[in-house]
Symmetry: C2
Subunit: 139 residues, 2 copies
Amino acid sequence: MSAKPFRLAVKAVVFDGAKRCLLLRRSAANKGFVGCWEWPGGKVDDGEDFATATLRETAEEAGLQIELTGPAGVTSFEMPAASIVLLCMEARLVSGEVRLSHEHDAAEWVPLAELGRFNLPTAVGDFMLAYAARKAAPA
Amino acid sequence: MSAKPFRLAVKAVVFDGAKRCLLLRRSAANKGFVGCWEWPGGKVDDGEDFATATLRETAEEAGLQIELTGPAGVTSFEMPAASIVLLCMEARLVSGEVRLSHEHDAAEWVPLAELGRFNLPTAVGDFMLAYAARKAAPA
């Protein structure tokens, strides 16, 4: 048997000055998980640096300029043609006002402790909640 | 202030048929952490896919062909010119016998529960031990 290829995707956990992270709601323009809330991000293009991809996707999907600060974690999920490795990076908001693309129809700045009240994509929801719990735990 | 750039590096947690993972001991040819034990891996080249880089580094450093099975975790550490994001991938041994490069002078197949008796690099040792503990915990 030949395994599916692994593809790298990135997400930005963008924090504002009040320690809230940006969630975007997937619009009906998407094939799946319509109405689910997610961090901005997407596939790393062939030959593209992962950090560049994270900044690019955040600008495209949210209209924001950010600065990466460190890794939030990694998870994976299956797509028909590939296994997706989802590398999530923490970032801080540098400039911009939220401006959505056709892929999303709502945005909210959310304290991590409140992530649980949002409809999260099944493939990565548990991972997002585990991250929030880890960040909330005393070091 | 302008932050240092982020660079992606990869490590392979290669398991053999007995659920032992491969550790390599850093030789005196290295600038730092001489004598410390690590998983095979290294920097992702410009334009290189992260999965390709993981297979390449494992072949170069250990002479082994592997198949990636999923993410093990991600951590980061500081270098003078960059912040390194270290993406660790689990893998299974497909073929080959361990053959070291000049970068290492010893190899051992180690059950995760025994990682703690090895001298691990300070920058990533805690991360490696936390991974081992997580894998040992009942799901």
